[in-house]
């Protein structure tokens, strides 16, 4: 706990470092933030390994009786993940920050953003949690607006982001206050003690409110609309932190309140969580294949990954309430392991996307391409993270997805049909989402980085600063390590799952580097698998050197003998995703229009044909637009009443006063 407090203090100091002159300000502040993350990481890992709970209480710093921090394994796991991504993001932003990002507000907000991210999991009273939550929301909003002068959409994104974060925070506050009111004290220990005594309807209302708030932060579908707008517009280290750390705090919230404070509660809660996960996974993956803006693709993929985690959490909750603690532990461990893995590969992907955007000046996949040769390091790191997302064997994504699937499979022995159906739907969602994610990331890698440069910007790309590459490397490392030896991390994750859901603390995996499920028949040894793959590659390479002709020649790529082969003949991202759009056309409802401009002389000769395809968010169009237009209409009506006459305003208040008195009488 002391290490964590030291870390938070260092974070605050980093914020103070903004006072330095411009060229000193960014490096010093970032290094301090990195130091803070290292301290927090060490504190969290020590806590995870030892497993004992430590608390800290500083009275009178805040009106509602001070800040209350409690470090238990669940909090420690999320702090460790956040600290790791924060460390990499801090190193990255040393090389990345330029222009508006070096302003005082940007530096202070970045430092406070990381500090509040580290503080949220440790908060153990309603006031502290909300304080840290709001600080996180406000600082990330400021960072989102850092570059609004250069990009107008940043304003629009900030508006959406601000509105939905505050609405979410309000829902969380309402839910927690409802609980605090019924348990006579606003710190979590009191709530935890009184939870069983609170009646089920009250607990359900509180859980639903809290779920709304945290699910919107985790990007669950009906409440996800801010995510594909905010992440692309934020500076890359910030969007890496958002996707890697901030989004998983939504998951943390659901587990902490639903599992820990309300002690599991009722079955239908967790079926709702699972349903949210299923819808998010499918919707996110589908839109990832349809978006041709690299960062928007990554944002939708975050929604998809968080959907998978919600499926794991929902399954764990459902299995626990229907009395299958062992299967529940497996699902919960799978979900938490996936959160850790997701933080590292999604963070690395966003940093790499930022590097590509910095080098070429664009994020649009249809205008990228051919970055493999000039930006070899970035391409390799993006490739490692992308293969991890697609869940291919030696990488961390595969271990995560395998655990998730085993968790769902071994839940089938359950009895209640509702759970079994839910688990089956979960498996289907997992499968389709995995397939769609593969399409999305082959598109991102193949069209974004490989092939020939489609625009002048892409052609002149040059490798980015060494600190940026170092940061990407740091985040790419766990993509491989967690994939090769997941067994080493599982005991710690199991301790966190136990703290979250009060499940049997025995780790669901037999100790060892691989994943050998204890109590269930299923195992994989990723390390040996990796050795086998390397051996296979080596054997094939050797036989070819012996047997095959080693002469190699470079020639023009075969395009059925065309005279001139330009880069424009390559497939674009829109074209790559078009078949899937056609298959899922009633979900995505793309609006593509075709304009044929005929030659002046005669209609039979066309001068130019332009085809444009736009897929905007179906949920946003069908759910949010009507609500917004209704509010806008109400706004115009209210505007007419405000015509600047003082008397009219006074009359309003007078009439109101009289009405109140009449009502009182």
């Amino acid at each position: 706990m002391t290490l964590l407090l030291l870390g938070l203090a260092l974070g605050a100091l980093a914020a103070a470092a903004a006072a330095l002159p411009v060229h000193l300000r960014v490096p010093v502040s970032c290094l301090l933030v990195a130091g803070a993350c290292v301290l927090a990481f060490l504190g969290a890992v020590a806590e995870l390994r030892s497993g004992h709970v430590s608390t800290a209480h500083t009275a009178a710093l805040l009106p509602m009786n001070g800040i209350e921090l409690r470090l238990d394994p669940l909090a420690a796991l999320f702090i460790a993940t956040t600290a790791f991504v924060g460390f990499a993001a801090a190193i990255y932003s040393i090389g990345y920050a330029h222009g508006p990002l070096r302003s005082r507000t940007a530096v202070v907000s970045f430092a406070l953003f990381v500090t509040s991210l580290l503080c949220v999991p440790a908060a153990s009273s309603v006031a502290t949690l909300l304080f840290a939550w709001e600080m996180m929301a406000v600082t990330s909003l400021l960072l989102l607006l850092a570059e609004h002068r250069r990009r107008a959409q940043a304003l629009d994104a900030a508006r959406w982001y601000g509105a939905m974060t505050q609405a979410g925070a309000a829902a969380i506050l309402l839910g927690l206050l409802l609980l605090a009111a019924h348990s006579g004290g606003q710190d979590f220990t009191a709530i935890r003690a009184h939870a069983p005594s609170i009646s089920i309807p009250i607990r359900s209302i509180a859980f639903v409110l809290v779920l709304l708030g945290f699910a919107s932060k985790a990007g669950a579908v009906p409440l996800h609309v801010w995510l594909p707008r905010a992440h692309p517009e934020a500076p890359s280290p910030v969007s890496a932190l958002m996707s890697g750390a901030m989004v998983s705090l939504g998951i943390y919230g659901i587990i902490r309140v639903g599992g820990d404070l309300l002690d599991g509660g009722v079955l239908w809660w967790w079926l709702v969580v699972l349903a949210l996960g299923v819808v998010s996974a499918l919707y996110g993956a589908l839109h990832a294949t349809a978006s041709s803006d690299l960062k928007r693709l990554l944002a939708y993929s975050t929604i998809d990954s968080m959907g998978l985690v919600l499926i794991g959490v929902g399954a764990a909750g459902a299995l626990r309430t229907t009395g299958h603690p062992h299967a529940a532990t497996l699902s919960m461990v799978a979900a938490l392991f996936f959160v850790v893995a997701h933080a590292s590969f999604k963070g690395c992907l966003f940093l790499a996307a930022g590097a590509a955007e910095r080098a070429t000046g664009t994020r649009d996949l249809d205008r990228l391409g051919g970055l493999a040769r000039p930006m070899a390091a970035t391409t390799v790191l993006f490739c490692v993270a992308a293969l991890a997302v697609i869940a291919l064997p030696p990488f961390s994504g595969f271990a995560g997805e395998w655990l998730l699937l085993q968790g769902l499979l071994h839940g089938f022995s359950d009895t209640s049909t509702a759970t079994v159906i839910a688990l089956l739907v979960g498996v289907v969602a997992l499968a389709l989402a995995a397939g769609l994610t593969a399409v999305a990331f082959v598109k991102a890698l193949g069209i974004g980085f490989l092939g020939r440069p489609r625009t002048q910007g892409a052609a002149e790309a040059r490798e980015v600063a060494p600190t940026m590459r170092l940061a990407m490397g740091i985040l790419a490392l766990p993509c491989l390590l967690l994939g090769l030896v997941p067994g080493l991390v599982i005991p710690m994750v199991a301790r966190a799952a136990n703290a979250g859901f009060a499940l049997p603390s025995a780790s669901p995996v037999v100790p060892g580097a691989g994943l050998d499920l204890s109590g269930f028949n299923g195992a994989i040894e990723p390390a040996l698998l990796a050795i086998a793959i390397v051996a296979g590659l080596g054997a094939i390479w050797m036989t070819l050197r012996v047997v095959a002709n080693r002469a190699t020649r470079r020639a023009e790529a075969w395009g059925s003998g065309r005279e001139v082969q330009t880069a424009r003949m390559q497939y674009t991202a829109t074209a790559f995703g078009e078949p899937l759009q056609r298959v899922f056309t009633d979900v995505l409802r793309p609006d593509n229009d075709l304009e044929v401009t005929h030659a002046a002389e005669s209609r039979f000769y066309t001068q130019a044909v332009t085809y444009s395809n736009r897929v905007d968010d179906a949920v946003e169009r069908s759910l949010y637009r009507p609500v917004i237009s209704a509010l806008a209409w109400w706004g115009t009506v209210a505007r007419r009443a405000q015509n600047g006459s003082v008397h009219r305003y006074l009359a309003f208040s007078f009439v109101a006063l009289v009405i109140v008195l009449v009502v009182l009488a």
Partner: protein
């Protein structure tokens, strides 16, 4: 399930894996040759000899490699990844015996992911060439792969529910122990779903026509237009072994008799012969089906895969109901 693995077992496991790999490296092209022969005879032609694919591969190895000038370092690696992923999948799957090397991690999901790794590598190679055909092939192949994934995984779930685990040797041994499983309705439904998925994954008719010359109709072929000589040999062997492996898995999962459960050389020999017989029968059936069917329009393929998916879900539901 952590068997005390003595060194003898480990070495004999590796030996079995090596035998399996060699059997598939030689056997799979022969299977393709057999399919071509059956197709030729049905069309009234004498057709190339069954060993023709092997001759083609031997000749390809003597030719030089040609790399596209704009391609990055990814293109030359792709053939190796495609071949290696299939080789490892074959090495650990229970084709001849239920305990090749690494058999405890011979999970059906691992095999599926290794094959996915192969197709992802091919797609990335296709995009890296910088030509229209590579992109087109990659886009179509990945789309069909994505749509086939649910049917594949739900079929795996159906098998796992019945056998209690997704571990392949466990399922095969379980079926050997309970012959009733092989004929159970969920096993047959899962067979239907898996065979549809196999047709889609390996690019056979009615999903994709391997011997088409018109680039616009290609799905798999368009991605490999760029490979020459040894690269093409690797990719072709990889594709052939992918078909051989999937066919062998379907054979062993639904008709496991003959698969060796002990390490005695006799059992291994029987396993090899049984595998050859089973694969030959299935391959001939596939060839006969192919001759009679025409290629589906690209956007009719999702309906086929949706059918496979429904079969798989039915398999799971019947499995749960009758349990």
């Amino acid at each position: 399930m952590t068997a005390t693995v003595s060194t003898v077992h480990v070495w004999s496991g590796i030996a079995i894996s090596v035998v399996q790999v060699i059997a598939l490296v030689l056997g799979a092209p022969l299977a393709l040759g057999l399919m071509a022969k059956v197709r030729a005879r049905v069309e009234g032609r004498v057709g190339a000899p069954i060993r023709q694919p092997l001759l083609d591969l031997r000749k390809l190895l003597t030719k030089e490699r040609v790399h596209a000038e704009h391609a990055s370092a990814a293109l030359p690696i792709v053939p190796f990844v495609v071949a290696a992923s299939v080789v490892v999948a074959v090495a650990i799957s229970p084709l001849i015996s239920t305990s090749p090397a690494l058999s405890e991690s011979a999970d059906l999901l691992v095999v599926v992911s290794l094959l996915l790794a192969g197709s992802v590598a091919l797609a990335i190679g296709g995009l890296d060439t910088g030509t229209a055909f590579g992109g087109m092939g990659a886009s179509r192949a990945m789309t069909i792969g994505a749509l086939a994934e649910p049917a594949l995984l739900v079929a795996v779930v159906a098998l796992a529910i019945q056998a209690g685990s997704t571990n392949l040797p466990a399922i095969v041994a379980g079926t050997l122990a309970h012959p009733a499983w092989a004929a159970s309705p969920e096993r047959l439904l899962a067979l239907g779903a898996l065979s549809i998925v196999v047709l889609a994954e390996t690019g056979r008719l009615p999903v994709d026509n391997p011997s088409t010359h018109l680039e616009l109709t290609m799905i798999h072929e368009a991605m490999v237009l760029e490979y020459a000589g040894p690269d093409l040999a690797l990719v072709t062997v990889g594709q052939a072994m992918r078909l051989g492996l999937l066919v062998a898995l379907i054979a062993n999962l639904f008709f496991p008799w003959g698969v060796a459960t002990s390490f005695s050389p006799a059992a291994i020999a029987i396993g090899l012969v049984a595998l050859g017989l089973k694969v030959t029968v299935i391959v001939v059936v596939i060839a006969l089906v192919e001759v009679r069917t025409a290629k589906l329009r690209l956007f009719r393929v999702p309906e086929l895969l949706a059918g496979g998916f429904v079969l798989a879900v039915l398999a799971v539901v019947t499995g749960l109901v009758t349990r």
